[in-house]
Symmetry: C2
Subunit: 479 residues, 2 copies
């Protein structure tokens, strides 16, 4: 039953794909570059969605739905935007048996069509702010697809807000970055670095882009979510104007922010091991696999299964509905049953056999450490809850320590190259270069500016240009 | 502030659109035939989704996600399917800056691509049943679009299951019809008629189609949800085979079933009135609008608002999180504030003014009847809960009585025409005609066979052909 997984140390890319296949998270679709998200993967996405959606609603946002197709002419209204996205678009040219007068692109992102609608909805300062989010599919044609990380179609949320003032819009941009960072930390156990993107890495059409950068277990960076301050660029392109309190007509200020199914890739590459997926309990759809184990059919039906059903109910009352999976596949060897749940990243396994019945205990086995813990049966719900909390905490700490011990400060280009080559990871350095300098560094080293971390306000001499009073940047090779 | 609504009796179609506009449920998009679902409408869809999704999970289904684009060649593998859907498809011919070798259609429904994946996932009887549902967007190009009822893009769920035996697949088809009917009744307060479609009205590629037919307040029928028994048609077209317990290799049996944003149209046309939307409390995102009312700013801040916040918390503890909307728009006249919530279909309004403070009461006003109920403040949570239950019950009863009193039994073609013309509504008659007979009746009367109701097992002489032992059919003009 166990599916072979290539060791991570031998071939990280193949390991990543093997983990996905063994956990049955996703498959490539018969459409080049697209994926099928299988039930195990989709349940994980639903769990991610639930946490983010709740936080969006808590911060006053509402959901809506805008059309999949966007007139080509809309894209062209914002110069940088069309330059950035047009080459990646899928184009609908025929519909209803006829050639269309104007082709439509399948949305790669929805600033344009949402901007068009906002211009109709906004007249007065009383109509602002608009705080809307959309959960949907988008398409960006990929030449080198990779499950969850880069696929031609992916699922995401895109928040789009409009405000009366620059300050409010900037506040919103940073508020949502903070929401992202908090959920990534507390739920996904991803210790991300929140920061501002350099000019060369901004969203096409944004004045500023902020990002949460995560370190994967191969020490490469992954952009886990972004929040854009769009200034008045889209408001001007789509004529989003309002009459202000003082009677003046002004352009609105807009933001957009998004996270996607890419987060599943981040989870895999942060926490998993050579046995397969490891999931933080807070985001794991199944938190505990409960396995009655015996070859004695009478014992199974008379005692084990009723006891297991009772334990399932009691544990679910403590840790949540439908979070315990009862595995009754007695036709398989116990080791195959164990491995099934191991590969799927279920945080905790509970074994219930004759020994446990005799001792009135339940054996818990942690997915992350393999540790075995025998707990008195009556205390099982509380102990499961505690162990899950400990798993959550220790996955985060492990990932944080990994990032910290693979982050290196440098102050010259030689040192940059030397450290990146010998150690990999995140390189931090004061940097004040231009877009062209960024490109030169990338060509020389393969590393890009991931962000200027917000938490670091120190200033120093640029390692590359020698310019004074520059902020510290994080560089890394990235997905 | 109030938006004009055309009286229903004057122009039903315009009334329908006016209700949508006044409630801000949806707008036409800048893409012909497509819609924007605005926050009020989307919150309603989320509420509908929650109830159905919960019922799907309770009956053992899991969610997954399949690609938006489907190779044209897939559609062609099932002859009836391609005939039914190809003319309505939107086609992607270019992507990533190049013309594609094979065009893709934007999914009009996903039997084909899901069948393709199931053929990879199913090898043994142990892999069955597969019980998967997908929430997504689909496109069917519409020449005469109508918000929520017929739009070129709409949101829906599509369940797709595969089984080892014919019996199991038929059981599943009827189980999901029953789930639909129950939620429509208990949550949406729609008294639908579950039944089997005639041959002429089947899903392209199905052996049998079952439906829930609802009567709108203009007495026309609306197909609110369908469940299809697909036999082995798609299993053969996509090679979904398995090795059975006895070692034989057999084709699987499949089903599919769906409900869509069309249900929002059904809700509007069943319950609403000339003042706008009316929503059954169980599906209404906002169940109570709470309005502190005063022109005395000191009273507002010292007493009214703290009291309102306290009431909101207490009532939400009884009826659910985020179900009470606190309306503090004191710059508007109370009548305009009332009308805002009326038009949005909020089931109950609570007024809190000086009179209420003096009497320590809260004034409740029902959306459906206009009835005013003064309740002691301390009992507000419990009383709100009770009144909402009564609103839910009476909306269902009103709709059921309307359908029953507009359903007429006939036994000849003259009677059929006479009743349909003078009374409208549902016409029931024993019917055993062919597809051609159905077409002739439609041409003569405008009415189609909506279904053969499952609950009616009486047999009789066909009103049209005179054939004996025929089942009773429901005919109606339909959306």
């Amino acid at each position: 039953m166990a599916k072979n997984i290539t060791p991570r140390s031998r071939d990280f890319s193949q390991w990543y794909l093997d983990v996905i296949r063994a956990a049955e998270l996703a498959d490539y679709a018969p459409v080049r570059g697209c994926m099928v998200i299988r039930p195990t993967g989709y349940a994980l996405w639903e769990s991610i969605q639930r946490h983010f959606d709740e936080a969006f609603k808590e911060t006053g946002h509402v959901n809506a739905y805008f059309p999949l197709l966007i007139p080509n002419s809309f894209l062209e209204k914002e110069a940088q935007h069309v330059e950035g996205f047009a080459p990646e678009c899928a184009v609908v040219t025929h519909a209803g048996g006829e050639e269309l007068e104007e082709p439509f692109v399948v949305r790669p992102t929805s600033e344009t069509v949402i901007g068009h609608m906002y211009s109709k909805w906004v007249q007065s300062w009383r109509d602002l702010p608009i705080l809307i989010n959309q959960w949907c599919n988008v398409m960006r044609w990929e030449k080198r697809p990779r499950l969850f990380l880069r696929t031609s179609e992916f699922l995401w949320q895109e928040g789009h807000t409009a405000h009366a003032t620059r300050e409010e819009a900037m506040e919103e941009t940073l508020r949502m970055l903070d929401v992202y960072q908090r959920i990534m930390k507390e739920v996904l156990a991803l210790p991300v670095v929140p920061g501002e993107k350099s000019e060369g890495e901004r969203f096409p059409g944004a004045d500023n882009t902020f990002t949460c950068e995560a370190m994967m277990s191969d020490k490469k960076a992954l952009q886990a979510g972004t929040s854009h301050f769009l200034g008045q660029n889209f408001a001007k392109a789509f004529d989003i104007k309002f009459q202000d309190r003082d009677g003046e007509v002004r352009y609105a200020w807009t933001t957009s922010w998004g996270v996607s199914t890419r987060l599943i890739g981040a989870l895999i590459m942060t926490h998993s091991d050579d046995d397969g997926l490891i999931l933080p309990p807070k985001v794991a759809p199944v938190k505990l696999a409960l396995l009655p184990i015996s070859t004695d059919q009478d014992l199974i039906s008379s005692t084990l299964e009723p006891k297991a059903a009772e334990l399932k109910a009691a544990i679910e009352a403590a840790i949540g509905r439908r979070t315990v999976e009862l595995d009754t596949r007695y036709h398989l060897r116990p080791s195959d049953r164990f491995f099934h749940h191991l590969q799927r990243g279920v945080p905790l396994r509970a074994e219930l056999g004759e020994r446990e019945l005799a001792n009135q205990t339940l054996r818990l086995v942690r997915r992350d450490t393999g540790e075995r813990i025998d707990v008195p049966m009556g205390e099982a719900p509380q102990r499961v809850l505690e162990v899950l909390e400990d798993v959550q905490r220790s996955l985060y700490e492990r990932a944080l320590n990994f990032r910290l011990s693979n982050t290196f400060q440098v102050s010259s280009m030689e040192e940059f190259k030397e450290v990146l080559e010998s150690r990999g990871g995140f390189i931090t350095a004061f940097f004040g270069g231009t877009k062209e300098d960024e490109r030169a560094i990338k060509e020389a080293t393969g590393a890009t500016v991931r962000c200027f971390p917000l938490e670091d306000d120190s200033l120093g001499t640029c390692f590359y240009t020698g310019r004074q009073g520059c902020k510290r940047a994080v560089f890394a090779k990235a997905y």
